[in-house]
Amino acid sequence: MEMVVVAPPAPGRLEDLRRRFLATPLQALLSLVSLAVMVFLAWKLLNWAVFAAVFTTSGGPVACQAAAGACWSVIAARWRIILFGLYPFEEQWRSALACVSVVVMTVLSCIPAFWTGRRIALVWGAGASLYYVLMKGGVLGLPYVGEEAWGGLALTLFIFVTTCLIGFPLAICLALLRRSDLPWISRTTGLIIDGVRSLPLISILFTFAIVLPFALPQWLQGDKLYRVILGSALFFSAYQAEIVRGGMQGVPSGQEEAAMALGMSYWQRISRIVLPQAMRNALPATINQFVVAFKETSLVVIVGFFEILASGNAAYGTGDWRFAYVEVYAFIALIYFVFVFSLSRYGAYLERRMAVGER
């Protein structure tokens, strides 16, 4: 006798919808409530941000305040101060170009073809120096602009990039020192890492910006901006060091033993065998740490820097635009969102990409 297996008939489109959203009374209720919340919020948001909003600057703040919706004129009137801070008006194209160079650099370093130590160092070195030359000037006929005039998005990106540039190599050093065979070296490094990790970032920034000048000889003090970057890099490296260490623990010990048996020196073992595999293990967590570092650049506002959040406060805080705080914060939030969301999506993509190799 032959068995005939007949697949159940495929549900029609309506039946499919019913099964997905209205399977039981409870499900139906949940679907309806969720749908109602979503429609309500979407309508409110669209109405506020688009339909009832004012987009032109022609009416000035007074006409804008009367509108029922968002007053985007404040962005049209103040976008330069939000993005570039106190940077000289005629030179702001340099600030914009510097931001573009940093973004291009970040995008390039997300492409796997650039994932060798030398190439990534080259890209980041080139991007950072291009940024520095563009912002600071004084060469190639560009007028000089001191660090105290940097601000807005350009300053946020600068702090982010330099924090990563200093923090990443420092993190690898700390991770290597922590897994050293010599007990006092690993213990002391462990103490430093755990100590930094147990403190809030704000307190470290505050210490580096305001307290450190007391504790350093004159010739070592440097500019406040670079001290804060150093503090932020130290904080970044303490977290990143633990991520790198975790990655190293994932490398089977046979790998290093085999390298040792081949007669490789310590540096050869670390740079050719251990680190490449460890970085691969640690990649998702590393991207996540970059995301966190980007969000935490906003904390420098507390030690008195004019980065994008502070320039946003200034954009609505004075004069006629006092009522338009929601629009300014929404604009800044959108800028952060674009950067952070794309970075974290990229991290999620990497995680999936790597999971394929392990299946």
Binding site: S34, W184, S198, P200, I202, A215, E296, S298, L309, V326
Partner: protein, 387 residues
């Protein structure tokens, strides 16, 4: 000498001494320079300043505070404020996170989408921006004369005013503890193995326990009540300002709301991960035993998910505790702001930084200890087959 350097042991010892020594030397040099610089400004180092009066005020304090109080009392106020803001934020964030996390694990696609949108939006905007935003929202509310009012609660640009019972401080705290006991006691009675009744048949005992605790609370309130005053003190407009009731300042509400929303989006992801970690087989086994969906959830899914998420949750709580330092951005006198003000006013830089580090170390370590304890208490006993 050279032959000595070739000796591995000598070389290792030398390296360690060099490393630790140079680090210690750097720290020592910094401290020496700082002490000399401070001495030039006429500031003597040492902890004597702790007993001098501060001469400045704090804008928020749970403990009584005047400008005559000594510095050590102010540090205590700061720690209490930090813990209070932290625990309020933790509780709110946990509630938000649980709701959003459950929505994200729900079988309903629309609820999942809603939860995911929430997490994607609020996780990707820096906390301090959210703090600034909520602070701006609250300070732009109508003036006290045009305050929003509902159920005796007033909301204005000066803050949130809630009715408060006219009861002495100690009695109030005792009543609050009794109220918490009224919730916790039935839960404990339902699970403990010290009673002879089977677990399913304890409703009577549970209700008696809750009623007893509630009665305690009522008696405490009645005894501790301030004479000649109404039991509840309602806030009301008097002249240009609001008098009476308990005022929750805008700084505190902005921070608590921001921490709840931002922390909630992180906790939602932890909750989702915890539920995802529960094996499908365990839930199917529970279902096939004939347990109702509610019992499958409370007896199988939730306890297993809790075990999976607790260690990560502990890290998140420590992080949120540290996030209270953002109080300085809006002027909430948390522990860090008290330290910063102390440095400004007294110049005792090194000592204040030392106290700051010790304070946060203590907070972090005790939180970690509490969670280790809980973790150990709920860990599955014996050898488990997992999968």
């Amino acid at each position: 000498m050279v032959s000595l350097l070739r000796n591995q042991k000598v070389r290792n010892a030398l390296l360690q001494v060099l490393y630790v020594g140079s680090l210690a030397g750097m720290v020592l040099a910094c401290v020496m320079i700082a002490r000399r610089n401070l001495a030039e400004q006429g500031i003597t180092s040492g902890f004597d300043f702790l007993f001098k009066s501060t001469g400045w005020d704090v804008n928020f304090s749970l403990l009584p505070a005047t400008a005559n109080d000594p510095y050590w009392w102010y540090f205590l106020i700061g720690i209490v404020n930090t813990l209070f803001l932290g625990s309020t934020g933790l509780i709110l964030a946990t509630i938000v996170g649980t709701i959003v996390g459950l929505a994200r694990t729900s079988s309903n696609e629309l609820a999942r989408l809603l939860g995911r949108t929430y997490v994607d939006i609020f996780r990707n905007i820096p906390l301090i921006l959210q703090v600034f935003f909520w602070y701006a929202v609250i300070t732009h509310l109508p003036t006290p004369r045009a305050a929003h009012e509902a159920f005796g609660i007033l909301l204005s640009s000066r803050g949130l005013y809630v009715p408060i019972p006219n009861v002495g401080g100690v009695a109030f705290a005792a009543a609050a503890i009794a109220l918490i006991a009224a919730i916790a006691l039935p839960v404990w009675l339902g699970r403990t193995s010290r009673l002879n009744q089977p677990v399913g048949e304890r409703l009577g005992i549970q209700l008696t326990g809750a009623a007893a605790a509630l009665a305690c609370a009522v008696v405490i309130l009645a005894v501790g009540r301030l004479p000649d005053l109404a039991l509840l003190d309602f806030p009301a407009l008097q002249g240009l300002n609001i008098k009476g009731g308990l005022r929750i300042p805008p700084e505190f509400s902005a921070l608590a709301v921001a921490i709840a929303i931002y922390g909630g989006s992180y906790i939602a992801e932890i909750v989702r991960g915890g539920f995802k970690a529960v094996g499908k087989g365990q839930m199917e086994a529970a279902q096939s035993l004939g347990l109702s969906p509610w019992r499958v959830f409370t007896l199988v899914r939730l306890p297993l998910a809790l075990r999976a998420m607790l260690p990560i949750l502990a890290n998140q709580y420590v992080w949120l505790m540290k996030a209270t330092t953002m109080g300085i951005a809006v002027g909430f006198t948390d522990f860090f702001m008290i330290v910063a003000l102390t440095i400004n006013h007294s110049g005792q830089t090194l000592e204040a930084i030392g106290i700051l580090m010790a304070g946060f170390l203590a907070i972090n370590l005790s939180l970690a200890a509490v969670f280790n304890r809980i973790n150990k208490a709920i860990a599955l006993k014996g050898n488990q087959l997992r999968g």
